[in-house]
């Protein structure tokens, strides 16, 4: 088949050990041309090692890495043609802003006029036109991150790698930059692999997210799928605020939660130990007899501005903490401590994972 579009990046059964510890265990990942894929996981999950293997800083013990049709497993970093952004910016402190952005262009021996044009173009893309003569030490954290971005895109790489690029910025700036990086990606269309430990950042920016846990990809899917239908208890726990409550399997489409039968939209896995993934925003106050409603006893209630935090017990005393948005329409109906209430869960939201991923 001659016309098959190869994946921009193809990681095939890559394993990496450092001494006795296995950091990556037979990881495979295909990234399509122009796709924005995030490697998400806690520290030690192997996400940075995987990025280092794609960049060429680390060689895998087993497996191979391909860019398009070319195998690059042994290729040194400077011949891989990637743009890269680091957490600590890694800007050259002895160069001006323009010289930093020009570095990859000079390394590629482009003619001086073209370098000048591309530097100006890249700086204007990150809204730093007019900063070209500044020294790195004079810039704020956000500006440094923009220079690092301009440096990574200036030579129009087909592939951009970002290693926690926003984690050194404060929350407000970080959220602003998330949107901006995503807009930049949509405009340039370069294949992007982004590493973060921040699940909201991953949800905001990615086409697909690879959740890593202990050197394996626990789940690879788009943000909605990952959030709504986590592959296992680890993903469910790591993404968003979820309570995981033990339930009993009845059949393919229903489980028993503390004596209440709940019907589930998605097939219930055939396993003995199952957990129901409960997220605050999926729960509704309901009345007895409503579909998929289960009784709870309210223990306490805390006003937190935009929401009320409720601590309740399900059935025979399984604790559950969740929040309900405050609104004048519903505030009056909120149950008080000591009262009984019913919570309902749409069958599509009644999602069950195995306790142990096998």
């Amino acid at each position: 088949m001659p016309n098959v579009q190869p994946f921009a990046i193809s990681v095939r059964s890559v394993s990496k050990r450092f001494g006795a510890t296995t950091v990556l265990d037979e990881v495979s990942l295909d990234v399509a041309e122009g796709e924005f894929v995030t490697l998400l996981g806690p520290s030690g999950s192997g996400k940075t090692t995987l990025l280092n293997i794609i960049a060429g800083f680390t060689e895998p013990n087993l497996g191979s890495v391909h860019f398009g049709a070319e195998e690059v497993t042994q290729l040194p970093p400077h011949r891989r043609g990637i743009g890269i952004v680091f957490q600590n910016y890694a800007l050259f402190p002895h160069m001006s802003v323009a010289d930093n952005v020009a570095f990859p262009l000079k390394a590629r021996r482009l003619p001086a006029t073209e370098i000048g044009e591309r530097v100006a173009w890249a700086l204007s893309l990150v809204k730093l036109a007019g900063y070209s003569g500044r020294r790195i030490g004079e810039l704020s954290g956000g500006q440094k991150q923009r220079v690092a971005l301009a440096r990574a895109i200036g030579f129009r790489p087909r592939l951009i790698l970002m290693d926690e690029p926003l984690s050194a910025l404060d929350k407000q700036l970080r959220e602003h930059m998330q949107i901006e990086i995503r807009a930049l990606h949509d405009r340039l269309g370069a294949t992007t692999v982004y590493v973060t430990h921040d699940q909201r950042e991953a949800l905001t920016m990615s086409h697909r997210i690879a959740v890593l846990n202990q050197g394996r990809i626990a789940q690879l899917a788009d943000p909605e799928e990952i959030y709504n239908y986590p592959a296992d208890a680890f993903v469910a726990d790591f993404i968003g605020e979820a309570a995981l409550i033990p339930v009993e399997r009845i059949d393919d489409h229903s489980v028993r939660l503390e004596g209440t039968v709940l019907s589930c939209g998605r097939p219930v896995p055939a396993a003995k130990d199952l957990l129901l993934v409960l997220r605050s925003e999926k729960l509704r106050l309901a009345a007895a007899g409503n579909k998929n409603a289960f009784p709870v006893t309210v223990r306490s209630r805390v006003f937190q501005g935009d929401s009320q935090l409720l601590m309740v017990e399900i059935g025979s005393g399984v604790p559950l903490t969740f929040r309900l948005s405050t609104h004048v329409d519903t505030d009056g109906q909120l149950p008080h401590p000591g009262q009984q209430a019913y919570l309902s869960l749409h069958p599509e939201h009644a999602f069950v994972v195995r306790t142990h991923s096998d």
């Binding site: 400077h78 990637i82 890269i84 680091f86 890694a90 050259f92 570095f103 390394a107 590629r108």
Partner: protein, 279 residues
């Protein structure tokens, strides 16, 4: 009022240091300065002799030549050494540092005599080269500027290695990773990123070596023989042989001025407080 009070206090805290420097450094220097202008009354005779007597000029020139070559050779040996040490594992890095430090802690005299043993006509170097058939006649390795330069380079090398290595260790490795990933070949990354960032350390080390070389005495005295007379030896001879404190003081003052000139010149191109780590 309170701030004035505390300012007075701070000045008081400075007093011991000021006294120490004033009594033990500035006062003797002023005394030397006074001596250099005294020859049975106020006189410029000592300075006039520096200009008239060609041997002084020759000595100064020789001193700068030796100091310059020692500095250049120390840089050529020290820089690759530091770069190599940087790539070692922490254990071997410590071993290498100890290897640099042990000679540093060994007596100057012992090391100079060791070079005497190595470099003399029938010394280890000459007899080794002869038995290998590389040379017919023994090389004149000592009692000249060559011997002096070899000995001084060895003795002063740690002064270059220590600040340079300390500086290289502070260079962020992520910068080199970024430079490589962005398309820089190893040579390009070295010359555009690593070398410029190591320059403050190299300058600090080279400056130390150069300034120490200018005033060096023991090694040239033992390895240089009678023909290579550096400034330090000039000062000593004026006192020891001619009991002329005035002449010795005048030479010292000129030496001091030259060292200060070197520092001033360097500080025009580099901020010296940054070179010596007082950011």
């Amino acid at each position: 009022m309170a701030s004035e009070h505390s300012a007075g206090r701070q000045a008081l805290l400075l007093l011991p240091g000021l006294l120490f420097i004033g009594l033990l450094l500035l006062l003797p220097l002023l005394w030397l300065l006074a001596l250099s202008f005294y020859d049975n009354g106020l006189s410029l005779a000592h300075y006039a002799r520096l200009i008239d007597d060609a041997s002084y000029y020759k000595s100064f020139l020789l001193t700068f030549e030796i100091a310059g070559s020692v500095t250049v050779v120390a840089m050529l040996i020290g820089y690759p050494l530091c770069y190599w040490m940087l790539g070692l594992s922490p254990f071997w890095q410590r071993v290498a540092i100890i290897c640099v430090l042990i000679p540093f802690w060994t007596s100057l005299l012992v090391r100079t005599y060791a070079w005497l043993v190595l470099l003399q006509r029938r010394g280890l170097v000459n007899s080794g080269l002869q038995s290998l058939g590389l040379i017919e006649e023994p090389l004149a390795l000592m009692y000249n500027a060559t011997g002096t330069s070899i000995g001084m380079t060895h003795i002063l090398l740690p002064f270059l290695v220590l600040p340079l290595f300390a500086n290289m260790q502070t260079i962020d490795r992520d910068l080199l990773k970024a430079a490589a990933a962005l398309g820089g070949s190893p040579g390009f990354v070295f010359w555009r990123v690593f070398f410029p960032l190591s320059l403050p350390g190299l300058t600090a080390g080279a400056l130390l070596v150069f300034v120490l070389s200018i005033g060096y005495y023991v090694t040239p005295q033992l390895l240089g023989g009678g023909s290579t007379v550096m400034i330090g030896q000039l000062i000593q001879r004026n006192i020891e042989l001619f009991s002329s404190w005035g002449a010795a003081s005048a030479v010292s003052m000129v030496l001091l001025l030259m060292v200060m000139a070197v520092f001033l010149l360097m500080s025009r191109y580099l901020s010296l407080d940054r070179v010596f780590g007082a950011r």
